[in-house]
């Protein structure tokens, strides 16, 4: 495993050498396909369905970018990565863009040379314990064994949390969520910690969800978002504004169903007109045509639709919007204006 860390470090270092010759947009257009770095499987965010088609929250953002750039949301090649390999794969150029429930941090931005796109999911790290343990607060977890996914920010947060509260724990390192689940249910660890969204989705699949409780403490900020390599600002802008467009579309009431209708002719709302291309030349500013946002919305719907379809209250994962509601609805989603 050390060798991988070493390789990742070398990859990150030599990324600077690559950045000079970027023009990812031209590469993607010439290829006719977007290489999107996703996870090897996180419930609700990225997984192959029964027919082998990738779906999930992150996957939909990949499809939106593909729709905006090459004109078809199906023209995506998914590059599945583990928590350890994701950045190396992106930095080496095997992937064009990354949507892999990845927390934006300063070191990843500055040291690993990634540019983070706007946050598409605000998460926080929590703890899940069997109710039989009788634990009601994370501070009661002294001496507990904790299942923790390696190579993630949760690993570091966990160490911080226990150090601050001066209590001890025994880490049980695991590679994937599925593995963590097996270990946790098998009793090899007392506590499972990961992002609260992950805990909720994991708990929802248990045979007896009531026997497990998610503790009230949220011990970290986990702003999850997409990322691209440093050094190609045009490509970064494309990713950034596609995400912004999907969030703005929800705010403006543009849906997958009515987008084409609203785009037909300029309406009364200039914001809608600018987004859908009937007013201004916003597409050409990022190297695309005027219908870029329209195609993205038509491919996957607006932010709210993506959320509801993959992880919302009606799905098995049953996450509430919470922080991820629009700013006008009490959340902190706040898309920069397109003008």
């Amino acid at each position: 495993m050390r060798s991988i860390k070493y390789a990742a470090a070398v990859a990150a270092l030599s990324a600077t050498a690559l950045s000079a010759q970027a023009a990812t947009l031209d590469d993607v257009k010439a290829r006719g396909e977007l290489n999107c770095v996703v996870s090897t499987g996180v419930a609700g965010f990225a997984f192959p369905d029964d027919s082998g088609k990738w779906s999930g929250f992150d996957v939909d953002f990949c499809r939106a970018v593909a729709a905006a750039v090459v004109g078809d949301g199906q023209k995506v090649k998914f590059v599945p990565t583990t928590g350890k390999t994701r950045f190396t794969v992106l930095n080496s150029g095997e992937g064009d863009i990354l949507f892999r429930n990845t927390t934006e941090t300063m070191s990843r931005d500055a040291d690993l040379k990634l540019s983070f796109l706007p946050v598409n999911y605000y998460d926080g790290q929590g703890f899940m314990v069997p109710t039989a343990l009788g634990v009601t607060s994370a501070k009661d977890l002294d001496g507990a064994s904790v299942c923790i996914q390696t190579g993630t920010t949760t690993e570091l947060n966990l160490a911080d949390f226990f150090r601050i509260n001066n209590i001890s724990y025994e880490p049980v390192p695991v590679e994937t969520n599925a593995e963590a689940q097996t270990n946790y249910l098998g009793g090899r660890c007392d506590v499972y910690t990961t992002d609260a969204s992950g805990l909720a989705s994991t708990r929802s699949t248990f045979e007896n969800p009531d026997e497990h409780a998610i503790l009230p403490e949220i011990i970290s900020k986990e702003p999850l978002g997409g990322a691209v390599r440093h050094g190609d600002d045009q490509w970064f802008d494309i990713g950034k504004w596609v995400v912004n467009a999907l969030i703005a579309a929800e705010e403006l009431g543009i849906t997958q169903a009515n987008a084409a209708e609203m785009a037909k002719e300029a309406g009364d709302n200039p914001s809608v007109n600018r987004l859908l291309g009937s007013e201004g030349e916003f597409g050409s500013m990022i190297g695309l045509d005027g219908q870029w946002a329209l195609r993205a919305i038509e491919a996957v719907g607006n932010y709210g639709e993506i959320f509801d379809r993959n992880i919302g209250p009606d799905t098995a994962i049953a996450l509430q919007r919470g922080l991820n509601a629009q700013w006008s609805d009490g959340g902190i989603l706040y898309a920069a204006p397109i003008r």
Binding site: I4, T40, G44, F47, G52, T81, E94, A178
Partner: protein, 376 residues
């Protein structure tokens, strides 16, 4: 017929024509086997009883879980739970095609099946000496690699399928077959090279073997998947699967070379000297005298390396290719099926066991067939 006095009533035999009686019940057949093998000594008796007890404890529970309480048809895990308390094989049934073909386009899957059938024909023809029509099969085996490449990849009239759509058992078999069939000849060359009198060849082979053996396969794969892009000129698109195949083959070749070197060293020097005395050139001596003997001795080690290579193919998940294990892990993230890891791992284990066991049995058969009686 007339003299009945010496035989018991009801049995008429001429003296000397009495048929052989079967051996006593306790001295033949399964009863004797059991007595000899399972109850021959007090220690054996205790071990047998313990083993039977363990099986008695394990089998009913396992059988109930795996078969009688299991669910084979359901749309998701909750339905599984309603239908039975045991294993949820419906997961595997629903995703059978994903496990087999990965993301290979559905309409083109007949090509994979056809390739597999042809592969089986070639393998049977190569491995089974008395196979009917073996001459034609062997001739066909020469063009098979190109045919298989065309069928699986497409082009020339068939729709092109990119290698990132490969996955599942298909991927394992491709890596296994290519790796196995290439690593043997390369390994032989390396082993001969290492013993060569020509310093350049000798040290090149030693350097290669020691380097590859000194590095974990996972590192080589990682280098192949991500680091190569830094060294190759920008814009080069070097197929990921091809890189993996090269790395796996080189890795197995280095091990193979050492296994075969072991066999070569077991050949007495007199054999080579005899070949020299016959006026045979180096290659002829190797081909006709040394290698047939050396390879025969090395069979267990060679098959060992093959099996190791085959199982190592699961490491490709680290570079984002989804072999059966990878497909299983990714599938477990589908909310419909979460938490069924036992079923997935068991299923994949059975697949690997069947393939590896077959290889092991064939190697035993080959050893017996080639046994010249020099051993004992």
């Amino acid at each position: 017929m007339s003299d009945n006095t010496t035989t018991p009533a009801g049995q008429d035999y001429e003296p000397g024509t009495h048929p052989d009686l079967p051996p006593p019940f306790t001295a033949s057949g399964p009863v004797k086997w059991v007595a000899d093998n399972l109850f021959s000594s007090p220690a054996n008796i205790i071990m047998t009883i313990l083993a039977i007890f363990a099986l008695y404890k394990i089998i009913p529970g396992f059988a109930a879980w795996a078969i009688s309480d299991a669910t084979f048809l359901a749309a998701d895990r909750n339905e599984c739970r309603e239908l039975g308390t045991g294993a949820c094989w419906a997961f595997i049934v629903q995703r059978w095609e994903l496990f087999t073909y990965g993301f290979y386009p559905e309409a083109e899957r007949w090509r994979v099946i056809l390739t597999f059938v042809l592969l089986m024909v070639v393998i049977i023809g190569l491995l089974w000496e008395n196979c009917p029509g073996r001459k034609h099969v062997l001739r066909f085996a020469l063009i098979f690699p190109f045919l298989a490449f065309w069928l699986v990849m497409g082009g020339f009239g068939l729709e092109r399928v990119t290698t990132d759509q490969f996955g599942g058992f298909m991927l394992t078999v491709i890596i296994g077959v290519v790796g196995i069939s290439l690593s043997l000849p390369i390994g032989i060359c390396l082993a001969l090279g290492r013993q060569s009198n020509l310093p350049i060849i000798k040290y090149a082979c030693i350097g290669f073997i020691e380097f590859i053996r000194g590095v974990p396969l996972i590192t080589l794969l990682f280098v192949a998947s991500t680091m190569l892009s830094y060294f190759l000129p920008p814009g080069t698109n070097f197929n990921l699967l091809l890189r993996v195949l090269i790395m796996v083959t080189l890795f197995a070749s280095a091990y193979m070379a050492e296994v075969i070197r072991g066999g070569l060293q077991a050949i007495p020097k007199g054999q080579i000297e005899a070949a020299d005395a016959m006026g045979l050139k180096y290659w002829a001596a190797m081909r006709l005298i040394v290698l047939p003997q050396a390879l025969k001795i090395s069979i267990p080690g060679i098959v060992n390396t093959f099996i190791g290579l085959y199982k190592d193919s699961t490491l490709v998940i680290i570079i984002g290719l989804l072999d059966p294990l990878g497909i299983g892990q990714a599938s477990l993230a589908d909310n419909k099926w979460q938490g069924l890891s036992t079923e997935v791992y068991l299923f994949v284990a059975i697949f690997f066991f069947i393939s590896c066991f077959a290889m092991a049995r064939y190697s035993l058969y080959l050893e017996r067939k080639l046994d010249t009686g020099h051993k004992s």
